[in-house]
């Protein structure tokens, strides 16, 4: 079953002095539920723009995007936010944790918004963060007191704790050393296989591409190849 359906997606950025950039140029893509997909390509190829559009945090200039059967163009601000809350998780290159919250609180606030009760929230926080090697003492620290690898683990836990159907990861290993990056990728792969979460990565990283069950290559806003691996 298709969890992501993109048809003729176009995204044009209007720059200064009437210069426009065609970041996506008629992209068609169907991602099946449970895939571990990498979208690769050189800088400026449109990878991040494609992920942002699929995630509903950017709006296409034209074309169609649906996630889990929901046409995103039919949702307004609040409803789109609700849809993301329950269905989509984000992992960013720059971690993007909320600096005034502790690691545990960064993970918890998503569940708070979902209305999950306190007992279940605390259980999931401990389970998820422990699974990513964040101990009880580290859970009480703020992002500034954690290393880059630890922050990205917290960010991944934040994305997975809400039990989304789809996780969009924009170059999640770019700021990590290879050992940490490899370990985290293995954990995400494990989640993909155990929980059935669909992962779509935008990446340059060969480690990600190696692990992907599907590799889509973008160049100049167009898909130039789409390879499914066993």
């Amino acid at each position: 079953m298709a969890i992501v359906n993109v048809e003729q997606l176009v995204k044009v950025y209007e720059g200064k002095k009437m210069v426009s950039v065609r970041a996506l140029d008629g992209v068609d893509l169907i991602v099946t539920a449970g895939e571990f997909t990498a979208i690769a390509g050189p800088s400026g190829s449109g990878k991040t723009t494609l992920l942002n559009t699929i995630g509903g945090i950017d709006t296409p200039t034209s074309g169609f995007v649906s996630v889990d059967g929901q046409n995103l163009s039919q949702l307004n601000g609040n409803k789109l936010a609700d849809f993301r809350l329950h269905n989509i998780g984000f992992i960013f290159q720059a971690y993007n944790l909320i600096p005034v919250l502790t690691a545990a609180e960064n993970v918890e606030f998503i569940m708070l918004m979902q209305g999950i009760d306190n007992v279940e929230r605390q259980r999931r926080i401990v389970e998820e963060l422990s699974d990513f090697g964040i101990d009880q003492e580290m859970m009480k620290r703020r992002p500034a007191e954690l290393s880059g690898g630890q922050q990205q683990r917290v960010a991944i836990a934040r994305a997975t704790v809400a039990r989304p159907k789809l996780i969009l990861a924009d170059e999640p290993t770019a700021n990590l050393d290879s050992q940490t990056g490899s370990h985290l990728l293995d954990k995400m792969k494990e989640m993909n296989q155990k929980r059935g979460i669909t992962f779509i990565f935008s990446t340059h990283d060969p480690m990600v591409m190696e692990r992907a069950s599907r590799l889509v290559r973008l160049q100049d806003g167009k898909i130039i190849s789409d390879e499914t691996r066993s």
Binding site: N52, G55, I57, D58, T59, G77, N78, A81, D82, R84, L85, H86, G89, F90, F92, N96, L97, I98, P99, F109, I110, M113, Q114, R158, A162
Partner: protein, 381 residues
């Protein structure tokens, strides 16, 4: 600022009420409009007026009319060996008059009125006439029958009230002396001065007196505002200017808060973007920021209240010494020490307005923050 402004106005009003002739006067119809006319209240009119005052004394257990005193006031001149000046001559019953005005408490040399041919004059007048206690002066006035009468009196006491105009204008004798000087019979007086327990009863008491002592009965009831239009205008203009200044202050506060909130928003745009990407509704961002504005207002209000209570309390008790401006202040009948006053209503009004300003100042930034495009907010540096 409000407390100072109110204190200034209250000082002026207190001066008018406590020095001139109480909160209101009951006189013959037409008298207060032109005191130079020889109008007076007869004995039956006085009795009717006192009856009405007794009936209005209390309402619902609260005392409204505190004291009253008869007065005979005539225009005249005072002469010494040095000079002659125009004055208003007040004939009073000393014991009753000290309940209505404060002249008896403001004697700085000699004594207040007692029996005998003594006169109490203001310090400025004494300086101009170059007289002291026990010196002789002559008072001249037109009598009721149109003749010019004069009488020699000794200065029995000199008063000081802080208002140069007042001290130069008003002289006091016993009511009997003025009646004799001006040709009034002993049952005839020009007015009954009335002191209320509180200025807030003024309008209702005046209204009831005018209803029960009508003009066609030969009565005229005038409040201190009617008798002192300058004072009334000053009170109104001070309220208006105070309101304008406070309004301008609130606008400045609002702009300052708006600037702070906008700075806060711009420092946190990235954070808002991440929150919205993770499913926080734009409306929640807006609510959160409005709540922050509300709490900021509450904290500011609490701190401001503590500081202002301390400052106002201090100056309400000790007063603010403006001796350097005493000459100018005395022109308005205001003393050189201003005691701050502020009613609970004023306090609560300011608190509510500050809260409102804080909320409104937070509203535009909150709406702006909720309308950020998520991807732009995440990428904002």
């Amino acid at each position: 600022m409000m407390a100072f402004s109110r204190g200034l106005v209250d000082s002026m009003i207190d001066s008018i009420i406590n020095l001139h002739a109480g909160h209101l006067q009951i006189s013959a119809d037409g008298y207060y409009q032109d005191p130079s006319t020889n109008l007076y209240l007869t004995r039956p009119q006085q009795e009717q007026a006192q009856t009405q005052l007794s009936m209005l004394k209390t309402k619902k257990g609260k005392t409204r009319v505190a004291h009253s005193a008869p007065i005979v006031s005539v225009q005249g001149m005072v002469s010494s060996s040095e000079t002659s000046l125009g004055v208003m001559i007040h004939g009073v019953q000393p014991d009753q008059e000290r309940q209505v005005t404060e002249i008896a408490d403001r004697i700085v040399e000699g004594k207040y009125l007692n029996s005998g041919q003594n006169v109490v004059i203001g310090k400025r007048l004494a300086d101009q006439l170059k007289v002291e206690v026990s010196d002789k002066i002559v008072l001249i006035t037109n009598s009721l029958n149109g003749e010019i009468n004069s009488g020699a009196f000794r200065v029995g006491g000199i008063y000081r009230v802080g208002s140069s105009d007042f001290e130069k204008s008003f002289v006091y004798l016993t009511i009997t002396e003025v009646q004799q000087l001006a040709g009034y019979q002993d049952q005839q007086i020009t007015a009954i001065s009335v002191q209320l327990s509180n200025d807030k009863y003024l309008a209702e008491v005046v209204q009831e007196l005018r209803k029960n002592l009508p003009a066609d009965g030969g009565y005229g009831t005038a409040s201190w505002k009617d008798q002192n239009p300058i004072g009334k205008t000053y009170e109104e203009s001070m309220s208006m200017s105070s309101g304008i200044i406070i309004g301008i202050t609130f606008v400045a506060v609002a702009l300052g808060l708006l600037n702070i909130f906008l700075m806060v928003i711009y420092e946190r745009i990235h954070e808002f973007g991440v929150m919205m990407a993770n499913g926080v509704r734009p409306s929640k961002i807006r609510q959160m920021l409005v709540l922050e504005g509300l709490f900021l207002g509450l904290i500011g209000t609490a701190c401001g209240t503590v500081i202002s209570v301390a400052v106002i309390g201090h100056f309400a008790y000790h007063g603010l010494d403006l001796s350097a401006f005493s000459e100018g202040l005395s022109t308005f009948g205001v003393g050189s020490v201003i005691k701050f006053t502020l009613s609970l209503t004023d306090f609560l009004t300011v608190i509510i307005c500050v809260q409102g300003v804080a909320l409104l100042s937070a509203l535009y930034p909150a709406i702006k923050a909720s309308r950020f495009k998520v991807v732009d907010a995440i990428n904002f540096e």
